[in-house]
Symmetry: C2
Subunit: 520 residues, 2 copies
C-alpha cells in the first residue's frame, strides 16, 4: 500500500472537467476536497492526511466515481511538526511544539528569475526567519516595476484588438494590456502555479511558513479589480490547489483598506469563502494600511501594519487572538518613511512588539544598483537587523512557554475600598483622563517585560538608565543577565540571588535584563 | 533729576504698614503698583518704567501721600531689549527684536549654596539657553531632599509645642515641622527674596528669562497645601515684589494637575489674580503633568509637558498662542523614563518641536557622586545635548522671521469639485478614519519643515534615507546644505539651484536639509 507521511501530500490527476471532488476517510474522519484545473481537460485532487492510519479515498465527478483507493499514512518523521495553528495568544505546531513566528517580507520573490529565487532561499536558510509574507498576484510598485515572466491566469481573447493589426505571439502575459482581453480566472497558468508550489515546498523544507497574500492593491494589470465572481473563483482555486501544503497561511489581503471598491462586507465574504474551502483550517488573517480590520470569526490572528509595536498588548485585549505586527517599518534607506528605519530602530520596534506579547515581521529596503530590495524581490540580505533578530529569537527560546507580557491590572475591591495608592495626586490626576488616554499612559509607564514565576525578561527600550532595582518574579534562586540587544552580548550580573537585586546597567539604549530561575 | 534706564527699576522704601500704593505717571500713562513688605514696619514700592520721558510718582497710604517725586526715564542702552511678550506663535522683546526661547530647567537652583548658584550662572553663561524654569517654593523630590537654608516665608508660633520642651533657636526654617506653627504668608523672609531677586537680576545680565514657577506639588513643608487665601497672598506678594523685573515670566504651576485639592476654577482665579496684579503683562502660563490646562484668557502661551514634541503643530491650531514644550524628557541616566533619554533622543525631540512650530526646553538628569543633577540644582552641565541645541539655535537664527511650519491644508473647492488626489485609494482609505486619527496621520506624513518663500529647513528625524528630492519653496536661486544635527556639520550640497534639486544624504538619523535663497 502506498505510504504517505503524516502532513504530507497525496495527489491524483484525472482527465476530467468540471466539479470533481475527492473524499478521504480514515476512522471517524471524512474530508472532502475540491479538485483544481491543471491543464485543458485535466484536474488534480490534492490532499494532506493529518493523522496516521489507513485512508480510503474516492475521486468523484458528481456521484460518478472516477477512482478509488487507499494509502497508509505513517507517522511524521523527525522535524515534521505539521501545520501551525493559533493557541491562546501564541501558535503551536500540530505535534504540540511551540511555534514563535519570526517573519520577513519578500512580496514578489516568486516573480523573480530562478537564480534570484534560489538566492532568496539561501538567504532565508541562513536567517532566523520562519515565516515569509509573499503575494500570489504580481506586484507593481516602485523598485518592482519589471514585467513578470508569468501570471497566475491566462488572458481571454482581446475584445479591442483591431482587425488588420499584426498578430502578437509573445509569451502568455507578456503583451501590452491594450492588445489583450480580460483575465480568465478559469484558466490557471501552470508555469506560475508550479513555481509557487515549488517555492512553498522549498520554504517548508527550511521550516518556513508561507504567508500567502491573496489580494493586494499594487497592481497595473487588473488583478486588484477583478469582479466579485472572479475574486471568489481565485480564492477557490487557491484553496483547492494550496491548502494541502502544511506551511501555508492565508493573508486575505495586504492593505485591504487600499483596495478600491471593496467593502468590509465583501472582505467578510472572502474570509468566509477561504474558511469554507480550506478543510484544514489554515491560519487566516487580513492586513491593513490604516484601520485594522475588525475581528471576524474567520480571523485566526491579527496581521497588523503599525509602527507602534507596543500596541501589541492593547490589541491582544481587543482581539483576544495572537497579535502579529506584520509591518512595523523596514530597515533601509529609501525616501519613504516606512522604508528608511535604522537597523537599531527596527530591532527596537521588534523587541517592543515581542515583549508586549506580539510578534513582529522584518523587512529590508536598501537601495542598490541592481534595484533588488529584499522586501520586494528577495535576493541577498544586506542589513544589520537580521543578526539582532536572531539574538532575540535565541533569548526568547530560553523562556518558559507560559511567559506573559507584564500587565498591571486595576483590582476592584469587592468591599468597595479604595485600592492602595488610588488617592495619591498622581493616581487622581490620571483618573481625570479619558479611559483610552489613561490606558495608553499606564501602558507607557509599565515595565516592558515578559514574565512567569520562573523568568523576567525586561526590555528597557531607549531608556539609558544606569541602575535598575529588580524583583525576582517568584520564589527561588535566580540568575541575572544584562543583555545588549545591539551588540548581542550577555553579561552575568548575578550567579544567584533571591528576592530582589540592584543591577548596574550600561546606561545606553537597547538594554535588556533577563532573570531566570536556577533552583528552588 | 534721577535717571532710570528704560525697563530698569525704580525702588522706594517706606516706614509703613498696610495698604501702600505707588502711582506712576508719564504723559498719558498712569500705573498703580502695590508695595510689598520688606521688614517689620517697612515696605517697598518697585516699578519699571516702560517708556522714556519724565515720570511723576506718588507713594500713598490710602489717600495720604507719603512721598512724591519724579525721575527721567532714558532710552534703553545697547543690549537692553525690554521684556518679552507673545507675538503670533512666537515671541518678541519690547524693542521689536525677535526672541526665540531656548529654555532649560533648574527647579531648585536658588536653594543651593552660593558657590553652586555661581556655578549655575557660569554654566548658563556658556550655554545657548535664554530661559530657565525655576521654582519659587523649595522642592522636595528624589535627588533634592536636603533641607533648604531658607524659606520664602516665616512660620508662626507652633501650636503643638509642649511646655517644658527645650527651646530650639535654630535658623529660621531649619527646625523640624512638628515643633513649628503654620507658614505665615504675611511674613516674607528677606534672606530668601533677596537671593531670588539677585538671581533674577543675574539671569537678566546674561540675557536669560526667569520662568518663575509659583506653585508646585513636590513639597514636604506644606507650601503646596496652603489655604486659598494664603495662595492668593503669595501671588500678590510675588506680583508686587517681582513684576518690575523685565525678565520675569509667570508659570502658575509646575504640574498643576498633581496638586491636591485644587480645581480648574481655583487655577483660573489664581491666573486672574496674577494678571490683575501685574501691570506689565508678563508672560503667563501653567504646566501640566497629564492633561494640558484648557485655554484661558490669562494664558499668554502654552507651557506643556509631553514627550510628543511633534504635537506642537496641533497645539498651535488648538490654542492659537505660542506653544512651548517645557518638558519633553531630560537627557540623563536615572531610573525614571522622564530622566533617562539619550542626548540624541533629546536633541531629536527638540528639533521636532521647533520644526513643528513650537519651542522646547532642555533638562539634564545625570546621576553623580555629589547628587547634583542640573535639572534640580543647577551646577555644571555634563551632557552632550547642549552643544547640539546651540547648533540648532545657530541654524534657526539664520532663518527669516516669517518661516512657518509646513502644513498641508485640505482645500475646499467652492465649486464642490473633488480635490486632486481625493479619489485615490490612499486618500479614500484615510477619509474612513476618524478625524483625530486622520489628522495625526497626515501630520506624520508631512515633511517636517520650517519654511517661507526664502527658506526651507527640513528635519528628517530618524529617517535614514539616502536621497531626497526637494523643491525650492519660492522663486530665485537657492543654496542647499546638508546638516548633521548630532555632529553639527554643514555640508554644501548646491551653491545655487532653481526649482528642484536631487540631494544625496548620509542615510543616517539626525539629518536636516537647509535651502536658503541667495538671489532673485
Amino acid at each position: 500500500m502506498e505510504q504517505i507521511e503524516q502532513y504530507g501530500i497525496f495527489e491524483s490527476r484525472e482527465r476530467a472537467d468540471g466539479n470533481i471532488t475527492g473524499i478521504f476517510s480514515c476512522e471517524e474522519t471524512r474530508i472532502r476536497v475540491k479538485a483544481f484545473a491543471v491543464n485543458e481537460g485535466e484536474v488534480m485532487v490534492r490532499f494532506r492526511p493529518e493523522h496516521t492510519g489507513v485512508w480510503e479515498y474516492r475521486i468523484q465527478a458528481g456521484e460518478r466515481i472516477l477512482r478509488a483507493g487507499s494509502f497508509l499514512c505513517i507517522q511524521a518523521g523527525e522535524g515534521n511538526h505539521g501545520p501551525v495553528s493559533a493557541a491562546g495568544f501564541g501558535f503551536r505546531y500540530a505535534d504540540g511544539t511551540e511555534y514563535r513566528p519570526f517573519g520577513t517580507t519578500c512580496y514578489a520573490w516568486i516573480y523573480q528569475p530562478e537564480e534570484i529565487r534560489r538566492q532568496t532561499l539561501e538567504s532565508l536558510a541562513g536567517s532566523p526567519f520562519n515565516k515569509v509574507r509573499m503575494c500570489v498576484f504580481p506586484k507593481d510598485m516602485i523598485y518592482n516595476e519589471e514585467e513578470p515572466a508569468y501570471f497566475p491566469y491566462a488572458r481571454g481573447i482581446a475584445e479591442d484588438v483591431q482587425p488588420g493589426n499584426p498578430s502578437h505571439n509573445q509569451e502568455e502575459g507578456c503583451n501590452h494590456r491594450k492588445k489583450q482581453g480580460k483575465w480568465n480566472i478559469g484558466a490557471p497558468n501552470q508555469t506560475f502555479w508550479e513555481i509557487l508550489e515549488t517555492s512553498i515546498l522549498e520554504l517548508d523544507r527550511l521550516g518556513i511558513e508561507a504567508d500567502l497574500i491573496l489580494f493586494h492593491p499594487y497592481d497595473r494589470w487588473g488583478f486588484s479589480q477583478l469582479s466579485k465572481e472572479d475574486n471568489l473563483k481565485h480564492l477557490e482555486y487557491c484553496a483547492a490547489r494550496l491548502a494541502a501544503y502544511k506551511n501555508v497561511w492565508w493573508s486575505l489581503a495586504n492593505e485591504y483598506d487600499l483596495m478600491p471598491g471593496r467593502t468590509d462586507q465583501d472582505w467578510d465574504i472572502y474570509g468566509q469563502k477561504i474558511k469554507e474551502r480550506d478543510p484544514y483550517g489554515h491560519l487566516l488573517s487580513i492586513h491593513n494600511c490604516f484601520q485594522p480590520y475588525e475581528k471576524a470569526d474567520w480571523m485566526t490572528h491579527c496581521s497588523l501594519q503599525t509602527a507602534d509595536t507596543k500596541s501589541a498588548m492593547t490589541m491582544r485585549l481587543q482581539y483576544n487572538i495572537p497579535v502579529m505586527i506584520d509591518e512595523c517599518g523596514y530597515e533601509g534607506d529609501i525616501p519613504f518613511d516606512w522604508g528608511n528605519l535604522s537597523a537599531f530602530e527596527l530591532v527596537h520596534r521588534i523587541w517592543m512588539g515581542y515583549i508586549r506579547g506580539g510578534y513582529c515581521s522584518h523587512g529590508e529596503t536598501y537601495e542598490s544598483e541592481d534595484n533588488r530590495l529584499w522586501w520586494s524581490k528577495g535576493g541577498k540580505l544586506k542589513g544589520e537587523s537580521v543578526a539582532r533578530i536572531a539574538f532575540l529569537k535565541e533569548i526568547l527560546q530560553e523562556l518558559p512557554q507560559n511567559a506573559e507580557p507584564f500587565c498591571w491590572k486595576i483590582e476592584t475591591d469587592p468591599n468597595g475600598k479604595k485600592q492602595e495608592g488610588a488617592d495619591t495626586p498622581f493616581a487622581m490626576a490620571m483618573m481625570k483622563l479619558d479611559e483610552e488616554e489613561r490606558n495608553r499612559r499606564i501602558l507607557d509607564m509599565l515595565p516592558m517585560a515578559l514574565c512567569s514565576e520562573e523568568c523576567w525578561l525586561q526590555y528597557l527600550g531607549r531608556s539609558c538608565q544606569r541602575e535598575l532595582h529588580v524583583n525576582a518574579p517568584g520564589k527561588g534562586i535566580f540568575r541575572a543577565e544584562v543583555l545588549d540587544v545591539w551588540n548581542m552580548s550577555r553579561i552575568c550580573a548575578s550567579e544567584g540571588f533571591e528576592g530582589s537585586l540592584h543591577m548596574n546597567l550600561p546606561a545606553k539604549e537597547g538594554t535588556a535584563v533577563l532573570l531566570k530561575k536556577i533552583s528552588m
